[in-house]
């Protein structure tokens, strides 16, 4: 099946690390050093404390499907989803490489990387195992 080519992200300096890693097939997250909690989306300041005391780490790329919605009339149809990462945060993404009719909330998913319009890779998720 034909798949959708995503629009390219426009990084800021504070998020370049995330996108450079994505091009190498690595899915990076940040954690707040004060609370120890991982968060998303990446930014210079912790959403929990407001302090700029955060560190990057490579995430497992595993999670579960929190919710999803398919746009059947889009050309081509695509599936938007929230995935709850193993590390905690729920993130917005697309489900690819799947039969949309067979998706179930709660099922395990794993990260994959898809070329966007300008070649920058963006993380998406596929059914795991």
């Amino acid at each position: 099946m034909e798949s959708r080519i995503p629009a390219s992200p426009q990084p800021w300096p504070e998020t370049e690390r995330f996108w450079e890693a994505a091009n190498q097939g690595r899915f990076m997250l940040q954690r707040c050093c004060d609370t120890g909690k991982a968060f998303f989306y990446p930014r210079a300041h912790s959403p929990f404390t407001g302090r700029n005391h955060c560190e990057w780490f490579e995430a497992s790329g595993r999670g579960t499907l929190y919710s999803f919605s398919v746009l059947p009339r889009a050309k081509p149809p695509y599936c938007i989803a929230y995935v709850e990462l193993e590390e905690g945060p729920i993130i917005l993404t697309n489900i690819v490489g799947a039969d949309f009719d067979r998706l179930e909330i709660g099922q395990p998913v794993k990260v994959t990387f898809v070329d966007s319009e300008n070649g920058q890779k963006v993380p998406m998720f596929s059914p795991a195992g």
Binding site: R4, P6, A7, S8, P9, Q10, P11, W12, T15, C32, K37, A38, F39, F40, Y41, P42, R43, S46, P47, F48, Y66, S67, F68, S69, V70, L71, P72, R73, A74, Y78, I80, A81, Y82, L85, G88, P89, I90, I91, L92, T93, N94, F100, I105, G106, S116, V122, M124
Partner: protein, 395 residues
């Protein structure tokens, strides 16, 4: 501080147009303003406080829009408030206006709202193109194609997963709105629909059907609040806000419950301030961008237990004269009007009609003295402004 008796809603007007190809955006604001002032028995010279949001012409040019529309309307102001929280803004403005009047910042407050997305051929499927590239989250969201419908679709899918809610139950919300809209000659969709009509309409974003969505319409509306000394000299029933709440719900670094909207907080705060409970409310104007929006708000505001929304709305639970809680008796955004893709103003206007006894006789709640208006502006399944207002007829 309770809002009771601090200020009164003395004027309300819903623009009758639903397709404004022949009118400018400024003109719609002005016609709405004049309509509400006329309804109050006041004129533009009486207004010294003005409240508007991001729908004014020129908003896209930073700092310009509100100043420009004040000039267009010919207002001489002592107070301006441009709090923007999408469709919920106007419900929040009522609280701001009442507090500004109580603080002596103004005596007659005008709130306007207008839009012409139908004339401008707005497409919800292309709505992601309008999202600002400068927001911090856009690089992590726009590649995935979040349009309005699929983000609400994720709310509905999760509600079905957690609580066993069905498409038929969601459809009952549209059915109730259509029963009300049949009495509204201005409604975009004036025909009664059935549960089957809704679930047989095409899927726009799973699991939502075309008839789970609100209409796209042009138009607008306005509200006028006045100081008690002014209000008591006018001929309109005395309607006062008694409780209000506002918050911004967001994704909180990735830790959120998609089924807990800002209404969880704002409903509690508004009810506490007003000193009433959900079961005391005789009429509710609930934001109805989609059927799922209504369901989540009913639960979050405490009209039913979490997860029980589907049972609450089924079998006509929201139909005036039939169900437990008459809602959106003008037909709501689902059938009547959703001017400028912002439903907060029309929610306020129908609540005022009900409290005055001026709703259509077929949907009027007998001796309606206590009403609620609630708005979810932005996206239920992402970041949104949430505003709750409780209104009471005093006399």
């Amino acid at each position: 501080m309770s809002l009771k008796g601090q200020a009164y809603v003395v004027g309300a007007f819903e623009h009758p147009t639903r397709h404004a190809v022949d009118k400018s955006l400024g003109q719609l604001h002005a016609e709405a303003a004049l309509g509400a002032l006329d309804d109050a028995g006041l004129s533009i010279e009486d207004v010294d406080g003005y409240f508007c949001a991001g729908d004014v012409p020129g908003w896209e040019s930073p700092g310009i829009g509100p100043l420009s529309v004040v000039e267009y309307l010919g207002l001489k102001l002592r107070h301006l408030d441009t709090t923007e929280s999408w469709g919920s803004a106007y419900i929040n403005h009522v609280e701001h206006a009442a507090r500004a009047i109580a603080a002596g910042k103004c005596r007659v407050a005008l709130i306007t709202q207008a839009g012409r997305p139908r004339a401008e051929k707005f497409s919800p499927e292309a709505s992601h193109l309008l999202q600002a590239q400068t927001t911090a989250e856009s690089q992590f969201e726009l590649p995935y194609g979040p349009v309005v419908t699929n983000v609400y679709g994720m709310c509905a899918a999760r509600h079905m997963y957690e609580h066993g809610t069905t498409s038929e139950q969601l459809a009952w919300i549209k059915v109730a709105a259509s029963h009300h809209a049949q009495h509204n000659p201005n409604a975009v969709l004036p025909n009664v629909v059935t549960v089957e009509d809704v679930i047989e309409s095409p899927i726009v974003a799973t699991p939502l059907h075309r008839l789970d969505c609100c209409v796209i319409s042009d138009g607008g509306g306005a509200l006028v609040l006045a100081h008690p000394e002014v209000a008591k000299g006018l001929k309109r029933p005395l309607i006062t806000p008694t409780g209000a709440g506002f918050t911004v719900k967001h994704l909180n670094g990735g830790y959120f419950d998609i089924l807990a909207s800002g209404a969880v907080q704002t409903g509690k705060e508004a009810f506490q301030q007003a000193g009433v409970r959900p079961s005391d409310i005789q009429y509710a104007s609930l934001y109805d961008s989609f059927t799922i929006t209504v369901l989540v708000q009913l639960e979050n505001l405490g009209f039913c237990e979490p997860g029980q929304g589907g049972r609450f709305v089924a079998d006509g639970g929201l139909i005036s004269g039939v169900g437990k809680l008459p809602f959106n008796t003008d037909g709501g955004g689902l059938c009547n009007n959703h001017p400028g893709n912002r439903g907060g103003m029309t929610k306020l206007i129908e609540a005022v009609r009900q409290l005055r006894g001026e709703a259509h006789p077929a949907v009027q709640v007998p001796d309606c003295r206590l009403a609620l208006a609630h708005g979810t502006g932005g996206q239920l399944g992402a970041r949104h402004g949430s505003a709750t207002l409780i209104l009471e007829r005093e006399d």
